[in-house]
Every structure is written in C-alpha cells, then in structure tokens.
Symmetry: C2
Subunit: 496 residues, 2 copies
C-alpha cells in the first residue's frame, strides 16, 4: 500500500543511499557470485514469461476480495485458496489457510536452502479496498482491463501485482535452479486494508512460523519507473468511528426543527474543533512525544522531496493546506495528521427528505509518527468528545484499528541487497524515503519478534491506490519480478 | 404532512377557537338542515364500511410511490392510476393524469351541486418519503401491517390515509344521496415530498381547472384522538444541497494526509459557522423580516402549547436545544430554523477505508416564517459560502426546492364549518394551532389564485411521519372520514 507520490518528480523525503555498497555494475562479470550468475539466468527466464504472468495476474485480480464488506467473505476465501495453490505448485511445505478472528492468513514455507542461509519472511496481503465511488471507474473494478501499458483493476497495484510478482520470482528460481537461494516463509494476510485488526494476536500465537532473519514486505513501490526508491519509515494509523446521537429516531424537520439539537450540526462543530486555525490537531498532548527532527534532516527531506507546486499537481488540488510552519513534504513525512475519512448523517439520496437526523457518524483517523503513543491518542480523543459534546447528544467512540509507525535501520545487509537489486533491475541507484502511509505489520513484527523489515515493491505513485481506476504499470511490474529474483540471489551472495 | 406533536398532551401554539360559532351539539335535531340530516345518514353508512375501507387502503399503501427515487417511477404511475380509478368509479368528469416536468397531477371534477354551491378544491399528494433507515422498520414499509389499532406502512399517515379518507367520504355521499353536497375538484400531486418543485408552474398553467371557492388540504392532522385541532399557519421550506470539492479524486489518506485540505473537515467548519452560540442562524439578514409576534400571542401559544418537558418526551431527546430567548413552542411555531437534513463524505461502510475524500455534501433546509423572503435566503446562503469557504475548496450550491410559509384567516365560513365537523366527529371543540411543518401548495394557491386553504386531516403526532415505522391510527382515520363527510354537508348548510 505504500507508494511515493511521484512518477515524474522526485519522491518526497528522499535521501541518496550512502555510498560504500557493492553494486553489480562495478564488478566484472567473472567475479559474480554463483547465486548472482544464477539470478541472471532466472531473470532471463522471467523475461520469456511475461504473457503467462499477465494472464495469471488477471485471474488473481478478478477475485473481489474486499475485506471490509461482509458480502465478499466468499471471495476472500477464494483469494486465499488461489494463493495457497500457488505455493503448492512450488512444493512449499506446510501450506495452510490459518484462521484469525477475522480473515485468514495464507502460509507456506520452503526451508531447504544451504545451511547458514537467511530465512526471509515474505509478507503481503490478498485483500483489497472497496470500490466506491463505482461510477467513476472507466472499466469494472474486477474486470481487469488494459489501457496503454497499465492493467486496471481494484487491487492490481495494492497489492495483488506485487504479491504475484514475488511469487513469480520464487517460481522462476524454482524452475530454473530446482530450489531457492534462501529459505522462505510465505505470510499473506487478508486484513491489511482493515488496519490488520487481528494480526497482532496472530503474530503472538504463531511466533514459530514467523521465525525469520528479516521480513520482506512486498506492499511497496518505487518513486518512478526509472527512479527506484526504498522506504525507511512509515507513519502509524489509528482509526476510529464516532457516533453522535440525538433523538431516539429521526424526526420531522418541520415539526421539531428549532426545538431540538441536530446531531449533524453538533458533529460538524466537534469536527471543526479538532483543528486550530494553524491546522494543528487540538487533541491534548497530540504533539508531546513527536520526534524532534533536526533542521539538517528537514533540509535533506525538502531537498529531495516534492516542491509545493509538485505536491499540488500530484494531489490534484488548487491550493495546498496543512500544519503551519512545515512544508508539504514535512507535513506528510515527519508530522502526524488527523483526517476525516467518512461522514454520514440523515438523508443523502437524490432530492430531498425533510428529516432531522437522529444520528451523525464520522470516521476519523490519525497518521502517527515516532514516538506518539496509541493509548494516549485513544484517551485524548475520548476526552475531547467528553469535554466538548453538548448535553443534547450522546457520543459513542469505537476504535476500528491501531497500527504503529515504523522506522528501520538503513545500513543493514538486507537493505544493501535490496538497493543493489533495484539498481540492477531499474538502472539507477535508489533513494531512501519516508512514507506517509502505514503498514501495521512492520511495527508489529519489530515489537513482537524483533524482526526488521525491508519494504520492496513495484507500485508507482499514480497507481491510484484506494481510488477509482486503480491500475498497475506493467513494465514496472515485470522489472519488479526481476528485482525480487535478484534480491533473493544477492541475500546469500558474498558481495553483499 | 402536518401534524401537531402530541397525542397525550396539548398541541403547541393552540388557541381556543373563538366562540360564537354554531355547533351541531347546541342545536335540536329538528332544526338540522337537510344537508346535515343527510350527513348523518352518510356517516352511518361510513360506519358500516370500515373493513372494506381498510382493505382498500392497504392496497393503496402497498404501492411504493417514493417520489425522490428514480427507480420508483413506475410505482408513482401506479399510484396515480389507482387514484384516477377511484375518481372514475364515482363518476367524476374530466379525470386525467396531467403531466408536469416531474411526477404528474391526478385530476377529476364533479360540478353538479345546486347553483350557488361552493367549489371545493380537494388537495392531497400520492407520493411518500423514502424508507431509510430500512433496518429500523419492524415490518416491511410497503407490506401494510396491523399492530394494535395502527396500520404500519410508509405513507399510511403521510398522507395516503387522509387521501383515502376524503375519497371515501365523497364516495359515501355519492352512494347514499346520489350526488355531492358541494362541487369538487380533486387535485392530488406527486411531488409534495420533494417540496413540490413543479407545482407552481402547474398552477400557473392550469388556473381554470383549479378555479375554486377554497382549497381543502387533506395533508393534516389533529392534536390527539380526543383533541381535534386546526392549523392556521405553516412554516415555509427552502431546501439546498451544498457540495464542497477538494482534490480531483479521492486520495490516499497516508500519502497525502496533512498536505491537502480535507473537504469533510472544511464542510464541518462551514456548517458549524451557520449558527452562533445562541442557536441563532448567522446568515446575513436571516431575521430581518421575521414577523414580530406580540407578547400576547406568545403567551397564548405557550399557554396552549407543549411544556418543555412535554416537548422533550415527544421528541425523544434528553435535552432540548434552540434559539436563545424563546420557548420550544415558540422556536417551532414562530421562529425560522436552519437544519442539516443529510451529510455525506468519503467512506461510510463497515470498517475502514483510508481515504482522504475528494468531496463532502450537505443537505441544508430552512423552515421560514412570515415575512422572510425566499430570494433573500438563497442569496445570503450563497454569500456565506462565498465569504467563508477557504481557497482550498470549491463550493457548489444547488437549490432543491422552495415553498412559501402560509397564514390563513381564522374566521371564515369554511373554517367555521371545519370546526363544527371536527367537534361533531371527535366530540370536542377544536383548537387553532400554528404548525412548524410546511405544505408548499398552501402559499402557492394563495399567491397565484388568491385561494385560501382549510387544512383538515386525520393524522396524529405519533404517526412517525418521514421516519421508520410510520403508522396510521385507524380509529382516528375512521372518524376522519366522518369529519370530511360532515364538513362537505356543512359547507352548504345555512347554520354555517
């Protein structure tokens, strides 16, 4: 789900990967490790199989695995079965669809690499976002459709494309060399788009299955087709639903209008009060623990990030807006934010209904940064509504999900291998970037198992994630398969 | 659609009908006019036909004639045909389904009363409100269901019950006496629940068909089964839909959250600003032309109206709220109000979607009082959004409907006849009341044709108009048929 917001511009908050790493380009072919030589054979095989990959991917994205909608439960099961079958074809062991309190996890393992080889926990998710507003789609969201060099379908870019790409890279290794260069545990969940509500419990219960050297998180992307990049930080996500209730049932707006409080009006006032005139969140203590970022880091981020004009164009807005005292790149990369994701009250159909609504609902989420605390945010939101909601209404606050922010070490063998694989596949040195989005699992694996994550994917900024007309850029997807294949090869190579 | 908000308490803003009228009870039977004697025979006939009436009414309310939903267009036509067939059975002349720019008007006339008899324009509407929230209905809204002495169905009380009652009173006259005591023009529209958007054009174009002594508007009710009441004033209705637009399409709330304005948050602030801390509407000039009501009239309204405790119970709220300086009865009866009828933005399904919405929508309506001006309200609402909407968004304001307030003369022959018919049928002298709701046609007929209106219906306050579990109180409905029958008889009686 992460993606830097640019294809034609530089990504926000990027930083040149510090030098000193070995890259394939600098070494003579004769010095290539045995695995690197195998990698190139695997890559050559990948290039011969594009058509088959595309037709298989179309099958995968045709399954409407929308995790948030109860009516798509069967489709969720179908998507999980589809993945499991992929693992079985590759002779993975212990393949299983493991239950959670919600949608299940797909698991499988291949642990036959030479002794001393790392164990890679390959993470992804097979669920997708809802499709509304449906009428803005140019082709049906679950009828994969080619336009130009893109494949349009819900989930094509977030993240069935990446999930399929990593599978195909493993399959190519298996086919060409009869095995994998590293040990692999495959671990795809079905609730990422819900904020992974049951993943923490799953991880706590399945520590053995998740034992690994590090996690390869495939839910990512690069800055542009010719500008690979790597994420070293993600914001967290705290998601709430707030209901404001007035009368016991909807009232006639003529008969009662003026005599009772209108929950929609009350809620509007409460939403309005969540920000001050400087665009700062007013929740008590919201900024208290936010990491102080040095002027040097800010300069670096701004130097490589979007200019405001680029941000404006990328977002498709006429004027930017955000917290006073920060650039847009800083607002997304190093500052927390509070957004309204949805709002509903009364009659919203065509025409008119003269109703004085009984309830009003808002979905509110915060993107958090180091070192904000989830429990503190929860408490301060409840305090806010307790303090400011008038006695004319009652307020119910429901937590939908919570997921921690994450920052990873930049200078590890795994990140160096990823960097090299990207450079070899996309032809340019990758940048480091901070990402405004969230992947809950990254923080959970770090907190529960001490496992670090490498985020490596093949999405692009204009893939329209979570929006109508989501699409996957196929040339980047094909190169993504190559990058994954090279990454696995490099992990056991002496040059990394 | 109008109804005073009480069954067990006194209605709001009521005033004892000033004395000096003749009532049936005070006159010996022998002095009854010929038409009054006939009325009693008609009433006796009505009492023998309850079962048939109920089964016919069930047929009528089974038709889901929701005017605001395009998918119910066929049902609208079925409801119009159903009414036309009723008129044809009674040998009405010139029966027709007359087109408008929207849903059609059902028309028919019977003009064979003795010379000098009044022409009564019988107004009603055959459309109903939408049914959402559907899950709160105890029985399906278009499967009429008896519980206790009520018939539950959308439209049963607003106003298919009343429409059917007036038809049955006419049918009873026709059956028992071979004719009607007055001339009748039947005029039922299909867009009242939309705010009668095309009725003004229809009236202007069909003046001849609407030529009449006065209008009997059946879209009304009484205070309680044993407390008849009559409405002499209605608030107007101005209905708008406002769209606030930010980015060109929905954005990922992680990737862009913090860097662009959120239209839902912006709209919340704009909604909040429409009222000040005293509950007054902040639109420029909103109160400038509001009729000054004497302390005497206020005392009178408060004396007969709900107490605050009664208002609280009737509305089903724990605390009342409204414009400072006025009682609840005054807030509804003599003060204008501005309500949010609906609000929509982003994702509102189950669970979460991390979207930064591109748009936010609000439905806003004002209930107006004499002598506010529609054009002024329209202009001031547009000025407000122009002035306060930030440059980060664009605002589109769409007018959905406009309908004038109305006040009618209390001391007319028609109102005296209505008063007497109510007293004879319900056993108590009726009150006069002001109604917080609106019926656009009342003002339109007055403005275009100079025709006054008598509002006379058989709904009750707890019929749950426009809400789930709308239901009609059958004993009151049966007495309503009698009241209509007596009213027609009294209109030509020398005693009125």
């Amino acid at each position: 789900m992460i993606r830097s917001p640019s294809t034609t511009f530089r990504p926000p908050f990027v930083k040149l990967l510090n030098g000193g790493f070995h890259t394939g380009r600098q070494e003579p072919v004769s010095e290539m490790s045995s695995n690197e030589a195998k990698s190139e054979a695997v890559v050559a095989y990948v290039r011969l199989n594009h058509d088959r990959y595309l037709s298989e991917l179309k099958e995968y994205v045709s399954i409407p695995s929308i995790s948030t909608l109860p009516e798509n439960k069967k489709d969720m099961e179908r998507a999980a079965q589809w993945l499991k079958a992929q693992l079985e074809k590759m002779q993975f062991a212990n393949t299983a669809i493991l239950p959670t309190e919600g949608h299940p996890v797909v698991y499988g393992e291949w642990l036959k690499a030479p002794p001393g080889s790392p164990i890679v926990l390959v993470y992804g998710h097979y669920d997708v976002q809802p499709v509304d507003p449906l009428n803005e789609w140019l082709s049906p969201p679950f009828t994969p459709t080619m336009r130009g060099d893109r494949l349009f379908a819900r989930g094509a870019a977030d993240m069935k494309g990446q999930g399929h790409a990593v599978l195909k890279s493993l399959e190519a290794w298996m086919t060409k060399t009869g095995g994998l260069p590293v040990n692999v545990r495959f671990f795809f969940e079905g609730e990422e788009e819900l904020g992974s509500p049951h993943l923490e419990a799953f991880i706590a219960k399945n520590k053995e299955k998740l034992t690994s050297t590090f996690c390869l998180n495939c839910d990512g992307g690069i800055a542009a087709p010719d500008k690979p990049s790597m994420v070293y930080g993600l914001r967290g996500l705290e998601y709430f639903e707030v209901w404001v209730r007035g009368a016991e049932s909807d009232l006639h707006s003529g008969r009662y209008g003026g005599a009772v409080a209108n929950p929609a009006v009350v809620l509007a006032g409460l939403i309005d009060g969540l920000h001050d005139d400087d665009g700062r969140v007013t929740l008590r203590g919201f900024y208290d623990k936010v990491r102080t970022v040095s002027q040097e880091e800010r300069d670096e981020l701004n130097g490589h990030g979007f200019t405001d004009d680029e941000w404006r164009k990328s977002a498709g807005v006429k004027t930017l807006y955000g917290e006073k005292g920060f650039t847009s790149s800083e607002r997304v990369g190093i500052r927390p934010t509070l957004e309204v994701n949805g709002m509903l009250s009364g009659f919203t159909g065509v025409g008119q209904k003269t109703v004085l609504p009984a309830t009003a609902m808002v979905k509110i989420s915060m993107r958090t940064v180091p070192y904000q605390e989830s429990a503190q945010i929860d408490a301060s939101l409840r305090d806010y509504f307790r303090q400011y909601a008038p006695p004319t209404v009652t307020v119910d606050i429901k937590r939908i999900s919570t997921g921690p922010y994450a920052i990873v070490e930049r200078n590890t063998p795994q990140l160096r291998a990823a960097s090299k694989a990207l450079e070899q596949s996309y032809g340019a040195k990758p940048f480091f970037e901070l990402e405004g989005g969230s992947i809950p699992v990254v923080g959970l694996l770090k907190n529960h198992l001490g496992v670090n994550t490498v985020v490596l994917g093949c999405g692009l900024a204009d893939d329209k994630l979570h929006a109508p007309n989501e699409g996957l850029h196929l040339p980047t997807y094909y190169k993504g398969i190559e990058a994954y294949a090279r990454f696995f090869g490099l992990l056991s190579s002496p040059t990394t």
